[in-house]
C-alpha cells in the first residue's frame, strides 16, 4: 500500500461520511487564536517561555497544516494522534511486535463515541478516531480532576482525593463543566462548543494530562490491537483483486482481544512516555467505558426522555467489557487486596458516575425546553431491528 493511496482513500471516506451526516467542515479557515499555544504552554510550565520556546509554540499550527494527510483533517487532532501513535509504535518496536504495515491515521465523523480500524483496499490499515473524541476525552478528564480535591502529603508529594460527592456539595464547578461538555457534544455535536477554560493549578493540569493520555492510549492501542490480532486479515487476501461482498458478523471475541491488547499497550506506553505505574494506565479503559455509557444514557434521555430507551449501539454493554478488562488487568500485572492496580481507575469511574447523577437534571430540563440531539447522533440512534442486524 502506498501512503499516498491510503490518504486518498481516507479523504474519500471522510468526504462521503461528512456528506452523509450533512456536515460541511471548514478546517481550511481554522486557526488558533493568536498566542493561544504560548499561553497554554506557559500555564503548563508555570513560567514564561524562552524566546526559542515561543518560536516553537507559534510554529506549531503551521507545521500541522502542512503535515495532515487530507484536507478534512483537523490539524490539532492530527498532531495529537501523531504523538499517540508514535508512543504506541515505540512500544511495539521495543517489544519486537511486528505490524503487517504501519497504519496511516486520522479522524472520521461517526456520530458515535467511537474509533475504528479500516482495511485499505490493496493492503494496509487506517486507524481512525471519531473527530471529536480527543476533545471530549480532554474535557471529561478536566471535569474529573475538578471534582477531586487536591491533597498534599508531608513529604511534598501531592494527590487528589477521589471522594468527589462531599467536595461537590461545596463547589459544583466540576458538575457545571461536565454538564456543559455533555450538552455541547449532544446538541452541537462538538464538545468544544462548551465554554473553554484553563485549570487553575499545574497539579490539576498534570493529573488531567495523565488521565487523558491513559484514555487516548487505550483507544489507539485498541485499534492497533485489531491490526496485531489480524482481525481484518481477509482484506489482505482480497487485495489481489475485487471480490464479492460478504456479510461479516461483528466479532465480539475480537473486540475483547483488542481491548486486552489496548490495555497492555497503554500500560507500556504510559511507562515509556512518563514512567507512571499501571494504576494510571488502567484509568484509561475505566474512564473511556464510563464516558461511553454516560453519553449513551444522556443521548437517550435527551431524545426520548428515558436514559435506557435506546442505546447508540453498544453491545455487549460497556460495563461487560469493563468487567472483562478488570479481570484481565489483574492477570496482566498482578493485584493485591487493597485493589491495586485497579483501585484508582475504579475510583475515577465512580467520580464520573457521580458527575452524571448531578448532570442528569440539566439534561432533563434541556429536553423540557425543546432542546434535541444534533443530527449526527440520530444516525446512530437506530431502530431496535437495525441494532439486531449489527
Amino acid at each position: 500500500m502506498s501512503e499516498e493511496f491510503a490518504d486518498q482513500f481516507l479523504e474519500q471516506l471522510q468526504a462521503e461520511t461528512y456528506a452523509r451526516l450533512g456536515i460541511t467542515p471548514d478546517f481550511e479557515s481554522l486557526s488558533a487564536p493568536p498566542g493561544m499555544a504560548v499561553t497554554v504552554w506557559e500555564q503548563s510550565l508555570g513560567r514564561p517561555l524562552t524566546p526559542a520556546e515561543v518560536r516553537e509554540a507559534e510554529a506549531f499550527p503551521t507545521a500541522d497544516y502542512a503535515m495532515r494527510p487530507t484536507k478534512f483533517e483537523h490539524p490539532f487532532a492530527y498532531a495529537m494522534m501523531r504523538t499517540l501513535t508514535r508512543h504506541i509504535e515505540k512500544v511495539l518496536a521495543d517489544h519486537d511486535i511486528g505490524l503487517p504495515s504501519r497504519p496511516r491515521f486520522g479522524t472520521l465523523a461517526t456520530g458515535q463515541v467511537n474509533a475504528m480500524t479500516v482495511a485499505v483496499p490493496g493492503g494496509g490499515h487506517l486507524v481512525l478516531l471519531e473527530n471529536e473524541l480527543l476533545t471530549f476525552a480532554n474535557l471529561i478528564c478536566k471535569a474529573i480532576v475538578l471534582a477531586c480535591p487536591a491533597t498534599e502529603a508531608e513529604d511534598g508529594w501531592f494527590g487528589f482525593s477521589t471522594e468527589a460527592p462531599a467536595h461537590l456539595d461545596e463547589d459544583d464547578t466540576a458538575v457545571v463543566r461536565f454538564t456543559e461538555t455533555l450538552l455541547a457534544y449532544l446538541v452541537d455535536g462538538r464538545p468544544a462548543a462548551a465554554p473553554q477554560y484553563l485549570l487553575g493549578s499545574w497539579r490539576q493540569q498534570i493529573v488531567t494530562s495523565l488521565l487523558r493520555d491513559a484514555v487516548e492510549l487505550f483507544v489507539v492501542g485498541h485499534e492497533y490491537g485489531h491490526i496485531i490480532g489480524g482481525h481484518l486479515g481477509s482484506a489482505r487476501l482480497r487485495s489481489a483483486g475485487v471480490v464479492p461482498v460478504e456479510q461479516v458478523d461483528y466479532a465480539w471475541q475480537q473486540e475483547y482481544e483488542a481491548d486486552y491488547i489496548g490495555v497492555h499497550l497503554g500500560v507500556l506506553a504510559m511507562r515509556e512516555k512518563i514512567e507512571v505505574d499501571a494504576d494510571y494506565a488502567f484509568c484509561g479503559f475505566e474512564i473511556f467505558f464510563s464516558a461511553l455509557d454516560i453519553m449513551d444514557r444522556a443521548a437517550s434521555l435527551l431524545q426520548f426522555g428515558d436514559e435506557s430507551a435506546r442505546r447508540l449501539g453498544s453491545h455487549p454493554p460497556s460495563f461487560d467489557r469493563r468487567a472483562t478488562l478488570r479481570d484481565s488487568a489483574v492477570r496482566l500485572v498482578g493485584g493485591d487486596e487493597s485493589g491495586h492496580p485497579l483501585g484508582l481507575g475504579r475510583a475515577y469511574a465512580a467520580v464520573l458516575d457521580t458527575l452524571w447523577e448531578r448532570a442528569r437534571p440539566a439534561v432533563v430540563r434541556a429536553r423540557r425546553h425543546g432542546v434535541r440531539l444534533a443530527p449526527m447522533w440520530t444516525f446512530a440512534l437506530t431502530t431496535p431491528a437495525a441494532q439486531e442486524a449489527t
Binding site: Q12, L13, E16, T17, A19, R20, G22, T110, Q112, V113, N114, A115, M116, T117, V118, A119, P121, V219, H222, E223, H226, H231, L232, S234, A235, V242, V243, P244, V245, E246, Q247, V248, Y250, A251, Q254, E255, A258, L292, Q303, F304, G305, R310, L312, G313, S314, H315, G370, R372, L373, A374, P375, T378, F379, A380, L381, T382, T383, A386, A389, T390
Partner: protein, 158 residues
Amino acid sequence: MTPDRDTRRMLIVDNDDVDFARRTAAEHDVALQRVEMRGLEPVLTTTLLLFGAAAAVGLVTSLVDRHRGGQIIDLRPGTPRPVYRSKDVIFGLVVIFARDGRVTVEVKEPAGMFGQVLEALTALLGELAGAGVADIAPAVTEKVGDAARISTESTGSQ
C-alpha cells in the same frame, strides 16, 4: 465488450441495504467490495467500493440511492428518529413532519438534485426543531428555490 474497471466509487449505506447493493451490482457487471472496519463500538453503516465501467457504476449508485426511498425529517418533539430514509416514501420526496402538520418537498429532477436538496434541508434541522408548518414551509422554500415543489398539510394540532 469487456467493461473497463477503471472507475471506483465509494458508497456508504445502511447495513440493511447491503444485500440490495450486492445484487444490483452483480446484475450490472459492477464488482463490489466491502471495506472491512472494526470499531470500538459497532459501526452502523457499511462502506462499499464499486468498480466497473463509469456508466455502470453510476447506474448502480443511482439504483441503490433510489432503493433507500425518500427522506423523512421529523421535527416533532420527542420523535424517536428525526432524520432517516424510508422505503415507504418514494425516491425524490422529502416529508417533513411538524408539530401541526407536514410539509412535502417534491424534487423536480431527483436523479440529479435529490442529494443537493437533502444537504440543504439537513442544514435547517437545528433551526426548525419543534417548529410549525407556517414557519417550516417558507424556510424550506427559501433554501431549495426552484429545485422542488412544496406543499403543506395542516392537522390543526399544536
